[in-house]
């Protein structure tokens, strides 16, 4: 699937991250913005809390499964304004790459066990790619050229976390 924006199409970036709330579980949010950071769509999941059997049987693979497969995949499938790439600051979400059809990159230094993949500088930060998806590099390099050198791509992720907190507060 082609993920790079066509030349006449404006770039859309997806910012995907998650938070954990005591007694409620994991909740993930995806914010799609244009290249200037202006929001186009925001989608978040309901909190997912594994039961005891799931905790026992998944063991240490539980959180990577929840964030990387269950929640990320759901959000990417549901979002109506489709982003061209996904950016995250959580290594577990970088692991969603085999399950979604979009290039995913994680802020460098936080890629965890998949940190041996390619790296690319976008704005003022370096991002690491999934080790098995080196071909994503091309898409990110193209996007890096479109963004300003001082673009702060961590900031939208902070917005997502704030919005998740606000949503959970409203749902409480």
């Amino acid at each position: 699937m082609s993920t790079s924006p066509a030349s006449n199409e404006s770039l859309r970036l997806g910012f995907l991250t998650a938070i954990y709330l005591d007694n409620r579980g994991h909740v993930a949010g995806l914010l799609v913005t244009n290249k200037y950071g202006r929001p186009l769509e925001f989608q978040c999941t309901a909190p997912v809390r594994p039961n005891r059997a799931q905790e026992l049987l998944y063991g240490p693979t539980l959180v990577p499964f929840l964030l990387g497969e269950l929640l990320s995949k759901t959000l990417v499938e549901r979002i109506t304004v489709k982003p061209h790439v996904l950016l995250t600051d959580m290594p577990e979400i970088l692991d969603s790459r085999p399950h979604v059809s979009l290039p995913v990159a994680c802020v460098a230094g936080k890629e965890g066990r998949t940190g041996e993949g390619e790296t690319v500088r976008i704005g003022k930060l370096s991002f690491g790619l999934h080790v098995e998806f080196g071909e994503d590099l091309k898409a990110f390099e193209k996007i890096a050229k479109e963004l300003a050198n001082d673009a702060d791509l961590l900031e939208p992720l902070e917005r997502v976390r704030e919005a998740l907190q606000e949503t959970m507060k409203a749902a409480a």
Binding site: E41, L57, A163, E166
Partner: protein, 620 residues
């Protein structure tokens, strides 16, 4: 059973001399029957057959298998409205008007800061939008929370700005952006216009509003046009003008920004039926004190405009009484029609819906305003004329007895004030002599000054006398509107134009004359707020050096007494608007005080009737 190897080991150990003697008995003797009595035949391996048995009966119902199953995760979505498609920026637009670049504020880094942060570059402080207190739905709150910081939106990315706003301006823009009802009451000169335009620009971009009505006094229309061009040149601005048919068409056109003056609003509104009245997403009233009189046509027209958001701008939210805010709150739809909140409620409403900053609070690095009260002795001819007029006037007032009204006293005050400006018979003027001396120096040094007077007659009189070297220009209500902009342009650009003579009514509001380093108040207005507005034409953002403000006050005259009364009133309005509000809070003189100028007592009522003339732009 004891095996042979064990037996051998024990045997070997017997070599030790100290070990006790014992006799070894071999246990592996051949026998069919063990010593224990067991039959050797039992040593055969039993025949075992393996077969699978069900552990649980089917009836138990428990199947010990597990498959990973996760219920579908519900999601919640917010889709943001598409922003306004704006006109592409034309390439020759930039050279059409060179914008004056104004240096952004320089951050002063203390030694302590430097030591603490090492060589790390400072991360820019981000101004985030906050959901307004009245935003209840989650969608509304997320709309604000998910917007990028203002600095990201504005700093050289999507929205080009002529210069970087000050931090307090970012806060003002963010506040306006999220308020449906707002009164921006910053002191004059702090950039209310720029903050409003930028907030409108962002709201249009975000798709939150599509149609804006901006209402301002007629003389300020060119100012708003110019400011829109400077701060948001991509926004199409339509000015309401022309004959009735054209204006009707303009009212109905769905343009993003319609710029109208109060007079045309009142006139056209009266002629339109309710169905014909256009609806706006946002209505902004500039110089909103114009609607403070609840029963006036202007106030009623402004309050009846169908709208979703109501903003008001004024540097003097209270000119006379705190109650003047009632009408503004009613326009902002935060109190019911005809509502009269008490002081406590007003304070709460002010906290939620009024944003007021003063220069003292936010512009610590603005060059100072140096006030210079010039106490002048009247010339002999002026003194004679003044004394005669005052004596005759007081005799006349006393003769009126119970018939006396504030209007009678007021007329005398005006006559005396005019004499302090110049003696009508001889043309002598202590003020002019001082002005001429100051202007000689200012002209020689290439400086620029603005002078304010209450009377157009005085302005014309000064203009006729000032030497040609002063390059004097006149700007008052008698100057046709079409000529006003060229006059301001000439004053700014012509190095030979050194003084602009203005009336308070026409020149006090909305103009940007920060290149003038001197302000003369030739005579005093009745209300310090109007004087401050006049002074702030020059002492505002962009001013590069101190502004010297000279107030001419003639000794032992009515001017000295008026000055004393007005100065005593500047501290009275802190209660409603909080700290820093005293700079422009003001009272016009009331009847009691006017009578008191001549040691007369008010004959009617409690002396609270306001008698000062209205400071409308068309007054002079």
């Amino acid at each position: 059973m004891f095996d042979v190897s064990t037996h051998s080991a024990i045997k070997e150990s017997q070599s030790g001399a100290d070990l006790p003697h014992f006799k070894a008995v071999p246990l592996a003797f051949a026998a069919d029957i063990f010593s224990s009595g067991l039959n050797g035949a039992l040593r055969r391996w039993p025949s075992v057959e393996i077969q699978t048995l069900p552990l649980f009966d089917k009836r138990a119902g428990l199947i010990p298998s597990w498959r990973p199953h996760w219920a579908k995760v519900p999601t919640f979505a917010v889709v943001f409205p598409a922003g306004l498609e704006l006109l592409p920026k034309s390439e020759d637009a930039v050279e059409a008007e060179q914008l004056e670049k104004i240096e952004p504020p320089k951050r002063v880094v203390s030694e302590a800061d430097s030591a603490e942060n090492g060589d790390q570059p400072q991360r820019k402080k981000a101004t985030r939008l906050k959901p307004p207190s009245d935003a209840i739905s989650l969608e509304d709150r997320l709309f604000y929370l998910l917007q990028p910081p203002l600095q990201t939106m504005l700093a050289g990315q999507e929205l080009v700005m002529p210069f970087e706003p000050f931090p307090y301006q970012y806060e003002g823009i963010a506040w306006l952006f999220s308020q449906k009802c707002a009164l921006l009451a910053d002191e004059m000169g702090l950039g209310k216009t720029m903050q409003t335009i930028t907030a409108i620009r962002l709201l249009l971009r975000a798709g939150h509003i599509r149609r804006v009505l901006m209402v301002c006094p007629k003389p300020l229309i060119p100012n708003w046009q110019r400011e829109f061009k400077a701060w948001a040149e991509e926004l199409p601005v339509t000015t309401l003008e022309g004959d009735g048919a054209r204006r009707r068409m303009l009212w109905q056109m769905p343009q993003p920004i319609l710029l109208a003056n109060y007079e045309l609003l009142v006139r056209d509104w009266a002629e339109m039926t309710d169905d014909e009245k256009p609806k706006f997403d946002l209505v902004v009233l500039d110089e909103a004190q114009r609607i403070k009189n609840r029963d006036s046509c202007t106030s009623e027209a402004a309050r009846s405009i169908p709208r979703k958001r109501s903003w008001a701008l004024t540097g003097t939210p209270i000119e006379n009484r705190p109650e003047e805010l009632h009408t503004l709150f009613e326009y902002m739809t935060v109190i019911p029609k005809g509502g009269t909140p008490d002081l406590r409620q007003m304070q709460r409403l002010s906290r939620d819906y009024v944003l007021r900053r003063t220069k003292d609070l936010v512009m610590k690095d603005l060059p100072p305003r140096i006030n210079r009260d010039e106490i002048l002795e009247l010339t002999s001819a002026q003194r004679t004329a003044y004394s005669a007029a005052e004596d005759d006037g007081i005799v006349h007032l006393n003769e009126l007895g119970d018939q006396i009204s504030v209007q009678h006293v007021f007329e005398l005050v005006l006559r005396l004030k005019q004499i302090t400006n110049f003696d009508p018979l001889t043309g002598e003027s202590a003020k002019y002599e001082r002005l001429a001396a100051d202007m000689e120096e200012i002209s020689a040094s290439g400086g620029k000054a603005i002078l304010f007077s209450q009377w157009t007659k005085t302005i014309d009189w000064i203009k006729a006398r000032l030497p040609a070297e002063c390059g004097s220009l006149v700007y008052h209500g008698g100057v046709p509107h079409k000529q006003r902009e060229p006059i301001l342009k000439q004053f700014k650009e012509d190095p030979k134009a050194h003084i602009l003579l203005m009336s308070y009514g026409t020149g006090a509001v909305g103009l940007n004359l920060q290149f003038a380093g001197y302000v003369f108040l030739y005579d005093r207005w009745w209300n310090p707020a109007i004087e401050d507005q006049a002074i702030n034409r020059a002492h505002r953002i962009g001013v590069k050096s101190a502004v010297i403000v000279t107030k001419f006050i003639c000794k032992d005259t009515i001017e000295e007494r008026i000055d004393k009364v007005l100065n005593e009133k500047r501290e009275l309005f802190r209660a409603v608007l909080g700290d820093g509000s005293d700079t422009n809070a003001s009272l016009s003189m009331n009847a009691s005080e006017i009578f008191g100028l001549f040691d007369l007592k008010a004959r009617h009522g409690k002396g609270t009737k306001k008698i000062a003339p209205k400071a409308t732009p068309e007054a002079a």
